[in-house]
């Protein structure tokens, strides 16, 4: 590393101040973040995912996710011939430590990262009896941990299996799209950790966001479209065998 002492002495305080400024932001309180100006989603590029598990580990680190539960996870698919109705799927510990080199030969193989789809018409918020889970004005489905009763109805209602009950807190939990980061101009922990750019945070209300062009020029799918949940996680290169 080539940092001279002098340079370091100048940069350090500047960096610390910059960081504190980023950390201090809260929605509405921060002058530069207005909830109504954003509509968050994510782009998943299957053609780029290498199943390294960085996202799963990164999410666990950022959000203190308990072992054995997953706010995001990666699945590996193996499809033989035209058998798209019989894929072989595995997800060892959610893909947290990557995948062992399998003994599959041939067929079609790929990774599918998954997380909460932050559905615009989510069945989970529909069934919550008290209003502990909701979609924020900027499109992120969140859970209020001080209000949740732990009835588990939302966990049953999610078609994608992205929710769980925190073993200690006994309330529902799931991916928050790193709400505490995206409202400060940072990206999610999983996108930050992804080495290939397979995961990209997207702000659908931002006309400059690359997602608009991407959606226009690629074949895009969402998971389980027949559930009509208006999912906001868009998959490029998603195979028909994906459940």
């Amino acid at each position: 590393m080539n940092l001279t002492r002098r340079r370091l002495l100048i940069l350090l305080p500047a960096a610390a101040i910059a960081w504190k400024h980023i950390l201090a932001g809260t929605p509405e309180a921060a002058p530069n973040y207005k909830m109504t100006e954003h509509w968050w989603g994510m782009l998943m590029d299957i053609t780029k995912c290498i199943g390294c598990g960085n996202c799963v580990r990164g999410c666990q680190t950022e959000n203190q996710v308990p072992d054995g539960y997953y706010r995001t996870w990666v699945e590996r698919y193996h499809v033989e011939g035209w058998g798209s109705e019989n894929p072989k799927v595995d997800s060892p510990d959610g893909g947290k430590h990557g995948f062992p080199a399998g003994n599959q030969i041939g067929g079609k193989n790929f990774f599918v990262p998954k997380l909460c789809n932050h559905c615009a018409e989510s069945p989970c918020t529909q069934v919550c009896p008290v209003g502990a889970t909701f979609i924020s004005p900027d499109g992120v489905v969140l859970i209020d941990p001080t209000y949740c009763l732990g009835c588990r109805y939302c966990v049953q209602a999610c078609p994608y299996g992205c929710r769980f009950i925190h073993p200690q807190k006994q309330t529902a939990e799931k991916c928050t799209l790193c709400y505490h980061r995206i409202t400060k101009g940072l990206t999610t922990a999983c996108c930050e950790s992804c080495p290939t750019g397979a995961r990209q945070l997207a702000d659908l209300k931002n006309p400059q966001d690359p997602i608009h062009e991407f959606l226009r020029t690629h074949s895009i799918q969402v998971l389980k479209p027949y559930m009509a949940t208006n999912s906001k996680v868009f998959y490029n290169g998603l195979d028909g065998s994906v459940r």
Binding site: L11, A15, A18, L23, S136, R181, L186
Partner: protein, 162 residues
């Protein structure tokens, strides 16, 4: 005997008492409701409005590559020219917000190339074909990856390892 309205009313007195009990119950419920429902409930929708700010106030654990780059611009310069240009710092170095907050006392861990590089680059049939992947054992016979490759710019002919 004739059932005059007065007589009927008198004989339905117990029903009135029952109705009163119910009414008292409903009033108590409404009072409890006014007292117990959180103030910010309903602010943006059917949920506690303050929850949004509370969730957003969580501390970040990953600093984000923009923050790393404010100090480590020299590394950025090297990285930008190589194949790892789009690999963020913390993808390999781990979450370092604490280091960004206090760069002097909190130092990032020394990385083990053998474990780290292999995680992405070990050959696996499910990885995209065009992604650079090798069988680590066959490729280097057990030698550490950073003997020949500089992690910040991994192409071999770009100078000796740092």
């Amino acid at each position: 005997m004739a059932n005059t309205p007065v007589k009927t009313f008198k004989d339905a007195g117990h029903l009135l008492r029952l109705a009163t009990v119910f009414l008292v119950g409903i009033i108590l419920f409404l009072v409890a409701r006014a007292l117990l429902v959180p103030r910010s409930f309903g602010q943006y929708g059917h949920y506690r409005g303050n929850a949004i700010a509370e969730i957003a106030a969580h501390p970040a654990v990953f600093a984000g590559h923009q923050t790393c780059e404010t100090c480590h611009s020299d590394v950025l310069e090297v990285k930008q020219k190589g194949r790892h240009a789009r690999v963020n710092c913390e993808a390999c170095h781990g979450a370092l917000a604490k280091h960004a907050e206090d760069p002097v006392s909190v130092k990032p861990e020394k990385l083990q190339a053998a474990v780290l590089c292999v995680r992405c680059h070990q050959a696996n049939i499910a990885k995209p074909q065009q992604f650079p992947q090798v069988d680590a054992v066959e490729h280097s016979g057990g030698a550490a990856c950073d003997l020949c490759h500089r992690p910040h710019s991994p192409a071999i002919d770009s100078g000796k390892s740092q």
